[in-house]
């Protein structure tokens, strides 16, 4: 059918791509680089703000100074040779050592100067040692702890977000085809339930499937001890993934199906869709080329918003499900008041957000013809 029908767009398309091709790639690159730089600057400024907040009222300084004094006081009092000296002399020695240490760390200089060094350290994740938390391999370096916790979070979040994305997209298409059916009405009626965040749904899932039925584990990533056999390991991992991922699915499903279904319905009322239908194109083709294609930028935007929500929601979901990722790490850092880890997690979350936004901008640019053709691209 499609082979024999020529729409005006199809006729024009080859000509246009041939003419614009070299130009459009260049535009794409320029757009991407521009986005990259502006996002990097945004992360930089954002991180600086975080440092300012963290240091508001010199709080971090106080913590560090107290730590230095504690450490030196302890080492002096433990030293058998120094212990015999009179108290006043010992106190003086401590004061001197503290002053040296503070000078070494630059604590005697004004904050503005130091803040830029903090910024550099933060951006390179050079955050020193954690106070309480250590990585599974025993390291106390914040960077290593964070890098160790990153993969579980990525695993959980990509599984959750992609399954949510694909399932709700397919389902939304199905509903837009069966608009007005009972299932459609049911989804509309249920969409307010999405106001409950995933961790909240997770509590109920844990209650039903872990506590009452006992089918699935209460939390964690793999069974303890972890199985040796890779297949058994993967199975155990999958078993532990079921509940957190379903919590995400249930929490996000109705709202995203509803909003995408609405998009599709609005777009399917456009004149060109009517025309395509009048021409007798199959509904699959109409869906693919006349509904999905133009709504793609919108879909990507809402996917981006979903992902951004996801990174932050991960903190609670991981906490509830004991998932050994970044969120759980941040939770433990909060419990143990571990400043370096808390600040480190701010950095890593800012990076994750920026990378997400950048990747989606890039995909957006690929999908949105305005960027390639050059009518200015999407306004942010």
């Amino acid at each position: 059918m499609t082979d024999t029908t020529f729409t005006p767009e199809e006729l024009e398309q080859p000509v246009e791509t041939a003419k614009k091709k070299p130009n459009s790639t260049l535009r794409l690159i320029r757009y991407t680089v521009g986005k990259f730089i502006s996002l990097f600057l945004a992360v930089l400024i954002g991180m600086y703000l975080v440092i300012l907040i963290a240091n508001m009222g010199g709080y971090v300084d106080q913590i560090m100074k107290a730590q230095i004094r504690d450490g030196i006081g302890l080492s002096v009092s433990m030293d058998p040779e120094l212990r015999r000296r009179p108290a006043a002399e010992r106190q003086q020695l401590i004061n001197e050592l503290v002053a040296v240490e503070e000078q070494r760390l630059g604590l005697d200089k004004p904050f503005i100067g130091r803040s830029f060094r903090f910024l550099f350290d933060a951006m390179t994740l050079d955050l020193g040692r954690a106070q309480q938390i250590s990585s599974d391999s025993g390291s106390r370096f914040v960077r290593l702890i964070i890098l160790e916790r990153l993969p579980p979070t990525l695993l959980l979040m990509t599984t959750a977000s992609f399954s949510l994305f694909i399932i709700s997209l397919v389902f939304a298409l199905f509903l837009s085809r069966n608009y007005g059916s009972i299932i459609d009405k049911l989804v509309i009626a249920l969409s307010p339930t999405s106001s409950a965040p995933p961790w909240f749904v997770g509590i109920f899932l844990l209650l039903i499937f872990a506590a009452v039925l006992g089918w699935l584990p209460f939390g964690g990533m793999v069974a303890a001890p972890p199985p040796e056999d890779p297949i058994a390991y993967a199975l155990s991992l999958a078993r532990h993934l079921v509940l957190p991922v379903s919590a995400w699915l249930i929490s996000g499903f109705f709202a995203s199906v509803f909003s995408w279904r609405t998009f599709f319905l609005i777009f399917s009322m456009e004149d060109y869709v009517e025309l395509a239908r009048a021409k007798g194109l199959s509904s699959r083709d109409i869906e693919r080329r006349y509904i999905l294609r133009p709504t793609l930028p919108n879909i990507i935007t809402s996917f981006a918003l979903m992902l951004i929500g996801l990174w932050q929601g991960a903190i609670l979901t991981e906490t509830i499900f004991n998932w050994p990722g970044l969120g759980r790490m941040l939770y433990r850092a909060v419990q143990t008041f571990d400043t370096p880890v808390i600040i480190g997690s701010q950095v890593i979350y800012a990076y994750l957000l920026a990378i997400t936004v950048f990747l989606l901008d890039f995909i957006y640019a690929l999908v949105d013809p305005r960027v390639r053709v050059g009518s200015g691209g999407p306004k942010a």
Partner: protein, 446 residues
């Protein structure tokens, strides 16, 4: 307005939502009036002794309605309480020696054993402390000696800790051994009327004793208790006004500031608009929840500090982009042109001409935003950053989580606050959803 109500009738979800919210509002007002703030805080923050005769992690009483075997309620009999009707029989047994006899009689119609049994003795004496003998009579008339105690001013006799008694009961904990059907395994409760005799010998004129018998049940009150013996009804009730005010204030604060900034940006255009746009982009990369967590850890966990911080970090939120798009359209309208031509100032145009036009679009968004803030408060509490003073739903869930409520089967502990959160969230979401469709006719068509 009439039309508005007529159209809202078409959405049963909006009506259900309104009923839910009205219920919560009425509940909040009632709670704030009947349990004053100071009293609520004092009870919530009080030590375990202040909780009186509440058992630990007891289920709510209503759980008994659904099960065939009845869990025991708490039984308290206090001789100092005139309503308990405990009579004291005083006889002089020798010169300067008096015997005070008290009989505590109670029914035990339950199918399970109590959590703990204890007697609290309060003695009045100058120098010679009274000597107390506690004896237990089962419905069958069997006599079991519990303990001999030389009572101080205040003496707590925990039955499970009486070694000799437990030995006499063949090593079975006293709370079970005293109430079981003899020699039946697994243990079964012997239902019937029990008696506890408190025999006191005092050695001084005017010396006296009061005894309080407590059998801590496994169910307590309308909402159960937590690990610190606190009645959960209080935080459940008080959570409502707190959640509503937090959600409402946060939603209003963020929505209106965001909208106003968008209006300013659109109206002045140029550098101002650009600046606002760039700041918004930076703000989008600020990790919202982690920053809140940071503030909670470093500065203050007070819910009101959190509220201010939430508003501050949402001012330049992504919503600005939406409002901007709408304002850009409104800006071109003819009536704005007219206002400008009669000489209206910038701020006048923004506040009198631009902003009012967007209010109808704003309200559904505002109402739908409330649940997210209500849940945000709960989320912070679950992370252990709940307000240290106020009793909130999130705090209950956090306590439950910390004490392995799901793992240990204390489902009521999680389910009750969760249900209230659910009602709040759903109520607002349903109203917001319906309003969205009423105010945005384009959505209504589909």
């Amino acid at each position: 307005m009439k039309k508005f109500f007529a159209s809202i009738k078409q959405y049963p979800s909006a009506i259900i939502g309104t009923i839910m919210i009205l219920f919560l509002v009425v509940l909040s007002i009632y709670v704030v009036i009947t349990i004053p703030y100071d009293q609520a805080i004092a009870e919530w923050r009080g030590s375990e002794e202040m909780q009186g005769a509440s058992p630990r992690t007891a289920r709510p009483t209503y759980t008994n309605w659904f099960t065939s075997s009845k869990l025991p309620e708490t039984i308290v009999i206090d001789s100092a309480d005139p309503e308990a009707g405990i009579k004291k029989t005083v006889t002089e047994v020798a010169a300067g020696m008096w015997d005070i006899q008290m009989v505590f009689e109670f029914d035990y119609p339950y199918d399970d054993f109590p959590q703990e049994i204890q007697v609290v003795l309060t003695a009045k004496y100058q120098e010679k402390s009274p000597f107390v003998t506690l004896t237990w009579y089962t419905p069958e008339g069997e006599r079991i000696k519990i303990a001999d105690v030389t009572s101080r001013q205040r003496e707590v006799v925990r039955f499970d800790l009486q070694d000799r008694l437990v030995r006499n009961l063949d090593g079975v904990p006293a709370r079970i051994g005293l109430l079981r059907v003899p020699d039946v395994v697994p243990y079964e409760v012997q239902q019937g009327t029990y008696e506890l005799h408190v025999d006191t010998i005092v050695f001084e004129e005017g010396s006296d004793i009061e005894a309080q018998f407590i059998s801590f049940g496994q169910v307590h009150g309308a909402a159960g208790t937590d690990h610190r013996r606190r009645d959960l009804l209080l935080p459940l009730l008080w959570g409502a006004p707190i959640a509503l005010s937090f959600g409402f204030l946060a939603a209003i604060g963020t929505t209106f500031t965001t909208m106003f900034i968008a209006a300013v940006g659109v109206w002045f255009g140029g550098i101002v608009d650009d600046l606002i746009q760039r700041i918004t982009e930076i703000y989008m990369l600020l990790p919202f929840l982690p920053i809140l967590i940071m503030v909670g850890v470093f500065y203050s966990r007070s819910i009101w500090t959190m509220l201010v911080v939430v508003i501050l970090i949402s001012i330049f939120g992504a919503a600005i982009k939406n409002y901007r798009a709408i304002f850009l359209q409104i800006k071109e309208a003819a009536y704005i042109e007219a206002a400008r031509s009669y000489g209206a100032g910038n701020w006048r145009i923004i506040s009198r001409y631009l902003v009012p036009r967007i209010i109808p679009i704003l309200i559904p968004g505002l109402i739908s935003a409330i649940p997210s803030y209500v849940f945000l408060e709960a989320s912070l509490a679950v992370l252990g950053l709940g307000d240290p003073v106020l009793p909130t739903w999130g705090k209950i869930i956090n306590d439950a989580q910390m004490n392995g409520a799901l793992y240990n089967g204390y489902y009521y502990w999680v389910l009750q606050p969760a249900a209230l959160l659910m009602i709040t969230g759903l109520g607002f979401a349903m109203i917001g959803f319906a309003l969205d469709r009423i105010f945005n006719p384009k959505l209504r068509e589909v």
